[in-house]
Symmetry: C2
């Protein structure tokens, strides 16, 4: 199982062996999240939702179905999504008079209600979110977690009194997403998408692109400033302090839960399987007794004591007391990516110590049992940081300056991300896309990067440094 030799095969094997996802569901693009995968998903959702709620977002649940007439209200939006929605046309043996679609995203499910909820300036800002599956009829080849017809995300939708407050909200959204992705140790770029690639109905779109071992970037989050577009389509107005009626300004942002899970797996995993950050690991510590002839019972008893000590501290711990050989147990729990393994052998027993092994680098160390808890907690911090540093380093190595179209072609071919000067004109963008084999992902939003030379296509004055890569 070689991650960098054949990413696709490696990824499928990890999903299957670590019980993340079963892709044998009998409908293309739909899959089953199994126990281990679903437990990680829940932790990711919890990390995100806590931060959203702490910043005043209200959790809700909207229906999965949207009536055709709501969906059709914003012209650009329907244009962007029409080709990929699933239609419900029948119930029982009855043909429905009014077709409904499965949400591909929930603007048109939520905004009719927003127009009831928002009356006055005192109702603003309104900030809501939901963590739900959404449905898109992908016609490109589907891929587990990365491109599915049913995928999980958290979508937040907000309404504001003016453009400035919406802009402030965009910043808040970026801050929250960045914090969660960083806590997960992910390497990513925050890019402003070019106009021709913005969300259908938005004024502009930002996106979080995570690196992937095969060079295809993985969009794990997006933040959109919607301006007044949807407010006008759905008639969402408020009475201002001076009695005048105004349209609200809106933002929405989506956190790709399935894709974040994909990024976690593919950025941190190795040839032994998953490597999980402690914060989202369903099991953070696995205790493995290593009995030797003559002291089986004593090792077992001591292992139990070690397990109980860890459990008492509220750490998610399991003990593997199965009949398998220690080697098989190591292999299994490495596959599941458990951050810390505690080995308990005869020598540990004798000296009232334990052996700690870090999944991220397979390093081992011994500590006295009395010092075990602080040592484990320290390891959690260390592992979290190490994952983040390692991932960032890989991404930095993956980003390569390309000063010509030829150079860019090689970069893309080598499964890397190209960094190029661009004049901002659509024709040159088209040419980049067609000839390089990569897509224009946009320029950095959080870092000011002035051009470092002329446009790689027309050689005219460059306006931006943009990132070009294949994408999922």
């Amino acid at each position: 199982m070689k991650k960098y030799e054949n990413f696709s095969e490696w990824f499928d094997e990890v999903l299957f062996n670590a019980e993340i996802l079963d892709y044998r569901y009998p409908i293309k693009g739909f899959a089953v999240y199994k126990g281990w995968g679903w437990r990680i998903v829940r932790k990711i959702i919890q990390m995100l939702e806590e931060r959203l709620e702490a910043s005043g977002h209200n959790p809700m649940l909207f229906p999965v179905v949207i009536p055709e007439d709501s969906f059709a209200k914003e012209a650009e939006h329907i244009e962007g999504f029409r080709a990929e929605v699933f239609w419900i046309t029948q119930a029982g043996s009855r043909k429905l008079a009014r077709k409904m679609l499965l949400r591909p995203t929930s603007e048109t499910a939520m905004y009719p209600l927003f127009s009831y909820w928002i009356r006055s300036h005192a109702d603003l800002p309104l900030k809501v979110f939901q963590s739900v599956p959404v449905y898109r009829y992908e016609t490109k080849a589907t891929r587990p977690l990365l491109r599915m017809r049913e995928f999980l995300w958290n979508e937040a939708h907000t309404a504001h009194k003016d453009w400035e407050d919406a802009e402030r909200q965009v910043q808040e959204a970026v801050r929250i997403y960045r914090e969660v992705f960083r806590r997960l140790g992910l390497g990513f770029l925050i890019l402003k998408r070019p106009d021709f690639d913005k969300f259908a109905g938005a004024v502009y779109s930002l996106a979080f692109d995570a690196w992937n071992p095969d060079g295809r970037v993985n969009q794990i989050g997006t933040v959109h400033n919607l301006g007044e577009n949807f407010a006008k389509a759905f008639d969402i107005t408020y009475e201002d302090v001076d009695g005048s009626h105004k349209y609200v300004f809106q933002t929405c942002y989506g956190f790709g839960i399935s894709r974040t899970l994909a990024a976690l797996i593919s950025q941190h995993g190795d040839d032994h399987g998953l490597v999980l950050p402690p914060e989202v690991a369903p099991v953070q510590v696995i205790v493995i007794p290593i009995p030797y002839k003559g002291v089986e019972e004593e090792v077992k008893k001591y292992s139990r004591e070690v397990y109980e000590r860890i459990k008492r501290e509220g750490i998610r711990v399991q003990i593997d007391e199965s009949e398998d050989q220690p080697g098989e147990k190591f292999y299994r729990w490495e596959m599941f990516g458990v951050p810390v393994r505690v080995e308990v052998g005869p020598k540990d027993l004798e000296e009232r110590q334990v052996t700690l092994s870090e999944r991220v680098n397979l390093k081992r160390s011994r500590v006295k049992v009395e010092e075990m808890i602080p040592a484990i907690r320290e390891l959690f911090v260390k592992i979290t940081n190490e994952l983040a540093e390692r991932s960032l380093k890989t991404m930095e190595e993956m980003i390569v300056n390309a000063r010509s179209l030829e150079a860019l072609k090689s970069v893309i071919k080598e499964k890397k991300i190209g960094r190029v000067n661009w004049c901002g004109r659509l024709e040159c963008a088209e040419k980049i896309r067609e000839e390089s084999g990569g897509e224009i992902r946009g320029h950095r939003f959080d870092v000011d990067e002035p051009p470092e030379g002329p446009c790689i296509i027309c050689k005219g004055e460059a306006k931006l440094i943009i990132y070009v890569a294949k994408a999922y």
Copy 2:
């Protein structure tokens, strides 16, 4: 707002005013769970899932869509559900070659995978669950939370080596559900449904019927022993220790999350609004400063101190520092059902005390601020017990023996639950249903109740005492 005068109106008002559900979604039978409602839902889910996981159930997520051919495999099952499924027939502008339906329940989504997962006796028992919305095209009048076309539930599905182990599982399921419902203080009967009312595809069905102020019982949970029915339809077999291949025995059980929320509201609520058990209240304690002229600042400061003291303990607390009058604040937080109100006035300030008010009975008491935390914790226990006792008492008063069809008619008319002797024959059941206006809900599963007289219809020997009521 009178709960017992016009339940239906009262219920709708509470849902709206306490921000539980917004029923103005533009598709019939679909609604939006708002912030307060969704937070309660999450707590209910958490209580249930913790217990399911502790007893070895694995959390998963299966797709919302089921292919027609999987759905059609078990004959009774499709017969039971065919009339009420939503069909997806189109994607983009394309007509789908193979229709898909929205899950009305997930047997036919899960069991094709079970046949991959189960190979040997070592794979058994298999126990999985998911908390998801399901979809049923109700043709009867829809009602918020009680009868919707999209509703939330948790469904667990298990596979076992033999009938005995499946029977043991039924007991475990009943135990878990009973425990959660009791913790929520709900009054309910555990009934074995008559054969003609069992789940489509089951050998037998048990159900939890909660009482409702309008006399219509509310089925909040069901437990089914499926025998080998689905195993044969989906070819789910295992290799036993002796090398022989056998069909598994299955059970499944559903915990109605939307309906449990409905039961919580309607059993515990009163003419002031919601009354929540502390365990599921999004806010457990509300601190309300009651400033008086001259000591405004001191009261505010002391209220802050009180708030911080409670918050430090991990209790879910808020402080209402809005400009509203104390009376308005009392009214608002009573509507939201917050279990404990902490009033902080000038007298409290002077004596370093606080006034505690219990939502359940509006009783008030004063304690020193140093004794406040244990007093609040004690109140939580007291409130939880009081809710349960009050609900049980109401249910007991609602159950009335009926020794004749005429008597039963009156019982149903008076919005109560009839308890009658029945011979077990279908004709007599039909007659009871047609003439009494109520439905036969079954006999008690957890309590042995020998008949107390002849069948109320044929006057022949009675086999069972059954419960008859209108139902949602």
